[in-house]
């Protein structure tokens, strides 16, 4: 059974304060890394999918992302196929 990897990236919406990202950004100069104006921290989910990653499978993953992995009140998400069957398919970008 071919297994494909689909990646769901979840990020706080731009207008939502991200104190965790800010804490990372503030630490950078202390560590000698200059020139990073901003850092935002998000979540990456790697879903190993059984079977072909066809339109139906992508639609299902989109639904998983929308109802569960992301809280669309505060977060945006994107879905893309990274490896395996269907990897050459156009990356699906979903903004909520």
């Amino acid at each position: 059974m071919p297994v494909a990897r689909v990646v769901v990236d979840v990020m706080l919406k731009p207008e939502i304060l991200d104190p965790q990202g800010q804490a990372v950004q503030r630490a950078l100069p202390r560590l000698g890394f200059e020139g990073i104006a901003d850092v935002r921290q998000g979540k990456r989910f790697e879903l190993e999918v059984e079977g072909p990653v066809d339109d139906a499978a992508l639609a299902r993953i989109h639904q998983i992302a929308e109802t569960f992995l992301a809280n669309t009140v505060i977060e945006d998400f994107s879905v893309k196929v990274e490896a395996g069957e269907g990897a050459d398919a156009t990356a699906v970008k979903a903004e909520s």
Binding site: P19, Q20, V73, I74
Partner: protein, 226 residues
């Protein structure tokens, strides 16, 4: 026959016993409910207590929201049953969308535990009838994901409809927008707040005051008058 108030235990919940005790202190019968049970055992009201739940791995309350018991809670809440979410329970209620907005990590990133002064902004809800509008109460607060956020349109709607039920006084402990500590749904039967009234129902414990007892006596008033 006294009113029955269900208190749901999720894996990891740690304030369920305190909540049951507070329910009994108000003269009500506390009914323990397990998160996998769909049956609400004919309770008259439900409390989602505080304390971390297993849903916090994804977002606070996100996995608890899909526990079987929540389907019944959502149905009953929409039918008018009083539901109170305290702390993690509030987070679960936002994840179900019974209450609008979302809860995020505190703006200072620290866990905070303190006695917190609140102003009661709405004394008409199912859970605040024992208070008066404008009354200040002091109850414990303990959380790391207590920052309430919603978009400007939702915040304006909450303000216009009197659905901001509690506001932080003197100090905003977590960066909640507009100092919001608790809100309710449009019907006023579903209320969520971050501080813990169940820890302030006996003078020997918590703040040394009983300012939290009003939540539990409010529900008695509501059920008797219903």
């Amino acid at each position: 026959m006294t009113a029955r108030v269900g208190v749901i235990t999720f894996p990891g919940t740690l304030d369920d016993r305190d909540t049951q005790r507070a329910v009994r202190a108000a003269g009500l019968e506390a009914v323990p409910l397990w998160h996998r049970d769909k049956d609400l055992k004919q309770v008259d009201a439900v409390i989602l207590p505080g304390g971390f739940s297993y849903g916090d791995y994804l977002r606070a309350g996100a996995i608890s929201r899909f526990s079987p018991v929540m389907d019944s809670v959502i149905d009953q809440a929409k039918a008018g049953m009083p539901v109170l979410g305290i702390c993690n329970g509030f987070q679960v209620l936002t994840e179900t969308h019974l209450l609008p907005g979302a809860m995020l990590r505190n703006n200072h990133l620290h866990f905070i535990c303190r006695d917190q002064k609140l102003r009661v902004e709405n004394a008409e809800t199912a859970w605040t009838r024992s208070y008066e509008r404008g009354q200040e109460i002091n109850i414990p607060l303990k959380n790391i994901d207590g920052r309430y956020v919603a978009d400007e349109r939702v915040l304006d709607e909450l303000e216009a409809e009197g659905r901001v039920v509690f506001r932080y006084q003197e100090l905003n402990p977590n960066g909640s927008l507009r100092d919001i500590a608790g809100i309710c749904n449009a019907a006023g039967n579903v209320v969520g707040l971050m501080p813990h009234p169940e820890h302030a129902v006996e003078p020997l414990i918590g703040t040394g005051r009983t300012d939290g007892l009003g939540f539990f006596t409010s529900i008695l008033k509501r059920l008797v008058s219903a």
